[in-house]
């Protein structure tokens, strides 16, 4: 069925971003109203195409250098993209509404909402793109809006630095991604997914080549989905406003990498080597991030590391060639992680932008709605049955158990760590006694903030049940061997929860300090050192060459040489007419001498 609705999904937020940027920057309420309307239109259209199972939309030729390079501006409409569109626009719309409360007094509200709208365009563009070029452009646009939104409070150095860090780090991955796209185009002669897929046999017999291409494409996902070793930007991105962290750095943008991997799974799955590397990168990320999260003090950073860890699970699933499990976890994770961030935002606003969990405490009485919804999100995150996270994480662990036991063991260990650090956070923030003045005298957030929390809490609770999720996704099939996997997962969960409660109940300071984990495995220091000895060194050598050889030597030298010759020649200009005449005469004599005598 051909329909115009898919285009409307993209055009509504695009129009909103344009109108706000061009005309209504001055009227903040109007800007936010426009942006929220656009997000709701997007959501309604997404839901419509989802309900009607729209499979085709009008498309037009965008770049045409026939016959070698031809890009249609077309949309992929299959179950995957339709579900993803509902997810992105749904969570996006809720976060737009929540932002109304969170950003109510912000100076740059119009700018914020314009960027949010632009992000919606870009993210939905990634979801619908039917070729690599379009995907890449929206991919970069997402990176740009992420940069703008992380740096929303650009007057704070930390925010500006974090924005730069996010942008530059993801750029490293995107470089690989672009190279991968170019290689695919060179080899298969097409950039359209539907045309590349049947041409994959062209790679037969070139195992190394296909592994390289797959890993280059994977590079993009490593950057965008913050996988090891390019994960360092995500925790810092928490300098942005909390709704942004929820929308971009938890629910949607970081999931774009996983979505992209699922979309181009035919390339990744063409190489066993690539699959193995992808799976291990995911596993390493999951374990490492969970370990770091156990020792962090900033509520948003804990959530950021948990996001990393969960993204690690998704990438692990992709690497185990189970797209269904990856998408299932992406689906449930979007709900509960957005929920956790928004609830954390509610706490942060109430405490006047205090993010240190040791300054909180006893908040369950002050913020009952936030507490209940945060609790639901936390239980979903740690995979407590029957919350949504249980089902999706169980699916991934089951796949891991069938395919690769070491990965399964590490996945289980991560599940234990997840339970440990989430319950640690929950206990410190919501139980015990208030540990600061602002924590003693808070009150619940306005309904415009709690309403999205409640909606998301219901989704986080129900999202994993087959009767609900089946409508949106192809669920991974359960195998017989998987029977005792959930049992092991629940045991890991109980151990983690028990340990956390035993350790942190009634505490007001951190009882154990592991410097290695508190400093995030020294990744930032290591990268700082690496940059200092590679790029900085190169820059210094280049500076030397530029300053002394090129500037002082070539440029300055020719200038000074001209001056010197001029200074000598100027001695001839004595200003005496007869001297000139004499020289002229000499010249004539010389000419005659050379003309006649020679």
């Amino acid at each position: 069925m051909n329909s115009f609705y898919p285009w409307l999904i993209l055009l509504a937020p695009f129009a909103s971003a344009t109108v706000i940027t061009l005309f209504t920057l001055r009227w903040k309420s109007l800007s936010s109203a426009i942006s929220i309307t656009a997000a709701l239109i997007s959501f309604c259209c997404s839901f419509l195409i989802f309900a009607q199972s729209v499979t085709a939309a009008p498309e037009f030729v965008w770049l045409d250098v026939a016959p070698i390079f031809r890009v249609q501006f077309g949309l992929t409409l299959d179950q995957l993209s339709r579900t993803m569109a509902v997810l992105v626009s749904g969570v996006g719309a809720l976060i737009h509404i929540y932002s109304l409360g969170y950003m109510r007094d912000d100076e740059g509200k119009s700018r914020y909402f314009a960027a949010l709208s632009l992000f919606m365009v870009a993210m939905l563009g990634i979801v619908f793109a039917n070729n690599f070029v379009m995907l890449f452009i929206f991919w970069e646009l997402v990176g740009f809006t992420s940069y703008v939104l992380i740096g929303h409070w650009f007057f704070r150095d930390a925010a500006a630095d974090a924005a730069n860090k996010a942008f530059i780090t993801t750029r490293i991955g995107d470089f690989g991604f672009m190279t991968g796209i170019l290689m695919i185009w060179m080899i298969t002669g097409s950039v359209v997914f539907a045309e590349v897929a049947p041409r994959m046999p062209m790679f037969n017999g070139h195992g190394t080549l296909v592994a390289i291409v797959a890993l280059l494409i994977f590079c993009g996902a490593v950057g965008k989905s913050a996988q090891f070793p390019l994960h360092v930007w995500l925790p810092d991105a928490m300098e942005g406003p909390t709704p942004v962290s929820a929308l971009i750095h938890a629910a949607t943008m970081v999931a774009a990498g996983v979505y992209m991997l699922v979309r181009v799974a035919f390339i990744i799955q063409a190489s066993q080597t690539a699959l193995l590397i992808v799976a291990w990168i995911g596993t390493i990320t999951a374990v490492m991030a969970a370990l770091i999260a156990t020792q962090q003090d900033d509520i948003k950073r804990i959530l950021a590391y948990s996001t990393l860890s969960q993204l690690g699970y998704m990438v692990m699933a992709v690497g185990l060639a189970s797209n269904e499990a990856a998408m299932f976890h992406l689906f449930t994770h979007a709900f509960f992680k957005a929920l956790l961030f928004l609830a954390a935002g509610s706490v942060i606003v109430m405490l006047h932008h205090e993010q240190n969990i040791w300054k909180m405490g006893g908040l369950r009485r002050k913020l009952p709605i936030t507490f209940v919804t945060f609790g639901a999100g936390a239980l979903a995150l740690i995979g407590c049955p029957p919350f949504s996270g249980f089902f999706s994480k169980d699916a991934i662990l089951a796949i891991a158990y069938e395919n690769n036991l070491p990965i399964f063991a590490l996945g289980l260990f991560t599940a234990f760590l997840t339970a440990f650090y989430v319950i640690r956070m929950l206990v410190i923030v919501f139980f015990g006694n208030p540990r600061s003045d602002s924590a003693r005298e808070g009150c619940e957030s306005p309904p415009v903030m709690t309403a999205p929390l409640i909606v998301l809490a219901m989704l986080a609770t129900l999202g994993g049940f087959a009767f609900f999720a089946r409508n949106f996704l192809t669920l991974p099939t359960e195998k017989d061997a998987a029977v005792f996997v959930p049992v092991l997962a629940v045991i890991a969960l109980i151990v983690g929860v028990g340990l956390a409660i035993a350790l942190y109940r009634g505490r007001s300071t951190e009882p154990i300090k592991v410097e290695l984990l508190r400093r995030k495995f020294y990744f930032d220091e290591f990268y700082g050192w690496l940059i200092y000895w590679t790029q900085e060194l190169l820059a210094r050598v280049a500076t030397f060459i530029d300053r002394w050889l090129i500037d002082a030597g070539a440029v300055g030298g020719s200038s000074r040489g001209t001056w010197g010759i001029g200074a000598v020649l100027r001695l001839i200009q004595v200003g005496n007419l007869q001297a000139y005449a004499f020289l002229f005469g000499l010249g004539v004599v010389a000419l005659i001498y050379f003309a006649v005598m020679r």
């Binding site: 200009q573 004595v574 007869q578």
Partner: protein, 106 residues
């Protein structure tokens, strides 16, 4: 018998006098006059060459004489322009001394 060499000696003496005038005198008018002297020295030698080089039919070679007419014409034009410049210069500077005219010096 006056030979070609005699004419050339006279011409060379005239040219040297003119050149010395151009080099040594400070008054621009005199310098111009000396220039004319040098031109006429050249003319003299040309005419002498014409007279002593006999062409077909025992006639002198007229090419050199034609050249002399051209030189005279150009010299007249040169004097006209040169004196006009000189007058303009005198009006501006109240001097015709070349040692006072050093504006082009660095």
């Amino acid at each position: 018998m006056i030979t070609l060499g005699d004419y050339l000696v006279v011409s060379a003496i005239l040219f040297t006098i003119g050149f010395a005038g151009v080099m040594l005198r400070r008054n621009l008018i005199i310098i111009l006059m000396s220039l004319e002297l040098m031109l006429n020295a050249a003319n003299l030698s040309l005419v002498a060459f014409s007279r002593f080089r006999v062409g077909p039919g025992g006639l002198p070679d007229y090419n050199a004489q034609v050249l002399v007419f051209f030189v005279i014409t150009v010299a007249a034009a040169e004097v006209a322009v040169g004196l006009a410049l000189l007058v303009a210069l005198y009006r501006a500077r109240q001097t015709t001394d070349v040692h006072d005219i050093t504006s082009l010096k660095f």
